[in-house]
Subunit: 420 residues, 2 copies
């Protein structure tokens, strides 16, 4: 027996990386889990931090706490900036190197502006807790500035919120911001009526929620419109600055713009010098390994994995978790001496998106659920997927409170510039 | 009858300003409440945010939400940077001016370094939510760095936490950090044992909690020592830098230093060009007005008010609230035509401080309570003084969780540099 156990280095403790670590931890391996954050983030609810519904700590957990009982796992807070494939080493930003026998890259994605990086300043995206508190601050500051603004046109621009991108995140942001403006904040200002707020969701394609069935897209559009959201379809945004956006021929004056239109994978493909698609995802073999490197796996949003019909595996939490479990199973087989190739077969469980606090759409493929029942299913599912009893109780309490009172508890302007 | 109601401008929505506004809101006045933050902060529990026990949103509320039902009150998020006493105007940082008939300054205090402002960089203080998340980040990063540090001396410096100042905040920080290191984090690191952490509380005077009875100071010292805190008395800190502190003749290597030694009032005295004490507090008349300006009141930590025996009114929440209520009563009398001077008589209800999660000291003057009973009284009192049922439930849940599991839910490293 070898005295040094097989060493697995995992980069990224999102859904894919963490699921892999949990599945492999009891195998005869030593695991080093590296992340540049100290916390695992429950990204599906991040929009609720941005829109003042949840506190940051309700959707984030210290990574080392989540794996504390696994004695084989060492957690490192560190930034990876390269991989030396020949010598099987991960390079850290402080210059140190960590040798691996097997490498699992699960580094996720960032929002991408597709050649318009200059838009980021005006239209922040939503991937980290800091992104969420930045959007929260900008949104709340816009109302505060509007309260003091005497120029009617500027006031209307301050009360106009544009969300670019009609996927689930865009839909969820738009619906919640409309509720915040029309219900939560109503009656708290003296010089403005927050019901004058315009929330505009801009989608370049011909329908929102394009991965859903068309009738569900129509339902979601109607549900958003009932909440007071204006849905603009078929015209991509062509300009974006501090005073508004241009889409099609139209210029819309808006002081708060949020980007929910696209993501790009982390730089893992560059570290590996591997083939990547336009969004930066590493083109992997059917067993999620990097071509020519069976000891390197890529999972989650960083990988371009394929479904049976050739379509890419979507960049959602269940897909990353399935991939993490699959890689753990593959590695366990290998360590047991079974070198057979195990292709990853993604099982799509459905798509879901909420629209405010009373409606949601769930597309299970064969059937679908909409309306309040879908909202409750969505809520129960998300509380179930949260980690730990403590946060389940806390989030359930927060939602119960919002549901019954309309009040949101995390309306804080913190960090950055505080006052107008 | 005058068509323009009497206009009261209140600067600062801490305990004093908010209590004043609530007490005056039903009187025939118009109120403008100005704060440079959008939230009222429950400062007595701020140390619990710094030490990962509570989330920021559990101890902070949007000011305009707290006064939403008072139609006479307009809330402004703005920064005041001067007062024009002659023309009765408050000057805002954006150049605008707000006229007042009566002005109430309740602008609080900041931590002060008494001629050593260069220490702030190394020893942050605790007054705002950002201060708390900064201390939380530094503290958690120190453990993360220690986990990766190979030099034993540096590792020990990373695992040494110094709190300067033995008042209630210093005592509460020291006790909670000791619990965090010795219980909460225990078993989650692989290269360090967090029980090796040294927590040192440095107090220049000859006992901690100097405003308490001497036997209670002794009790608190023993209780801290039982938690593993080293209490250093009688030697003031004479130097402070990135690698440690010097007190008396001793140099102590420490990478995390927290300042809890002193505060100075906000610049209100400068705005008023009024007499101030060494800590910057405005010397006020016995009715809390500024000498020569009966239309300007100063309350809370910004004022140097006197007790019957000549000692200053302490800078604690109950004192600020009493002052706010007193000024509201004075103003109501004046508006009713009664110009009699009403001296402020401060009623001291007691002093309290917690030591970790099992002990506290409460000094009621005539009698005192220590130990677990004091802790429960302290906890119940603080939940009672929190604003709103929502936060009472949330904080009670957080404490119950910490009490029973030892786990703290807000162990997040956010903002600033994330990884070592």
């Amino acid at each position: 027996m070898n005295s040094e156990p097989h060493h697995v280095v995992v980069v990224g403790a999102g859904f894919g990386g963490l699921e892999f670590v949990r599945a492999i931890a009891k195998a005869p391996v030593r695991v080093t889990l590296i992340d540049q954050r100290n916390h695992h983030l429950f990204q599906p609810l991040l929009y609720q931090v941005a829109t003042t519904s949840l506190a940051t700590s309700e959707i984030a957990w210290p990574i080392r706490h989540l794996v504390r009982r696994e004695q084989a796992v060492t957690t490192l807070l560190a930034t990876v900036n390269g991989v030396d494939k020949e010598n099987k080493r991960v390079l850290l930003s402080d210059g140190s190197r960590i040798a691996y026998d097997t490498l699992v890259l699960a580094t996720g994605a960032r929002h991408a502006y597709f050649g318009h990086d200059e838009w980021e300043e005006f239209a922040p995206g939503l991937k980290t807790l800091e992104d969420a508190t930045t959007i929260r601050r900008r949104m709340l500051l816009a109302f505060e500035r509007a309260e003091r603004e005497t120029d009617a046109a500027v006031r209307q621009a301050l009360l106009t919120f544009v969300i670019i991108g009609g996927g689930p995140t865009g839909v969820e942001l738009a619906g919640t911001i409309a509720e915040l403006a029309h219900a939560t904040l109503r009656g708290e200002f003296r010089n403005i009526d927050t019901r004058d707020t315009k929330v505009v969701l801009i989608e370049a394609g011909d329908r929102i929620l394009p991965v859903f069935r068309p009738d569900l897209s129509d339902y979601a559009k109607s549900a958003l419109e009932r909440l007071g959201v204006t849905v603009e379809l078929g015209r991509p945004v062509s300009a974006c600055d501090a005073t508004g956006v241009v889409f099609g021929e139209q210029r819309l004056a808006a002081r708060t713009i949020i980007w929910a239109a696209g993501v790009a994978a982390s730089p893992a493909a560059q570290w590996l010098d591997a083939e990547a698609d336009r969004a930066g995802r590493v083109v992997v073999e059917d067993d999620l390994t990097v071509p020519g490197h069976p000891e390197i796996f890529v999972v989650g949003d960083t990988a371009l994995a394929k479904r049976g019909d050739g379509r890419p595996v979507p960049g959602i939490a269940p897909a990353a978790k399935q991939a993490g479990r699959h890689v753990a199973a593959t590695l366990k087989s290998r360590l047991a001496g079974d070198k057979a190739r195990r292709p990853f077969v993604y099982k799509h469980q459905g798509d879901l998106a909420t629209i405010g606090k009373r409606a949601a759409v769930i597309d299970f493929g064969r059937f679908s659920v909409t309306g309040w029942l879908a909202w409750w299913l969505w809520g129960i599912a998300h509380i179930f997927f949260l980690i730990g009893l403590r946060n389940r109780i806390a989030v359930a309490l927060s939602w119960l409170w919002i549901y019954t009172t309309g009040q949101r508890s995390a309306r804080l302007i913190t960090q950055g510039r505080q006052s107008p």
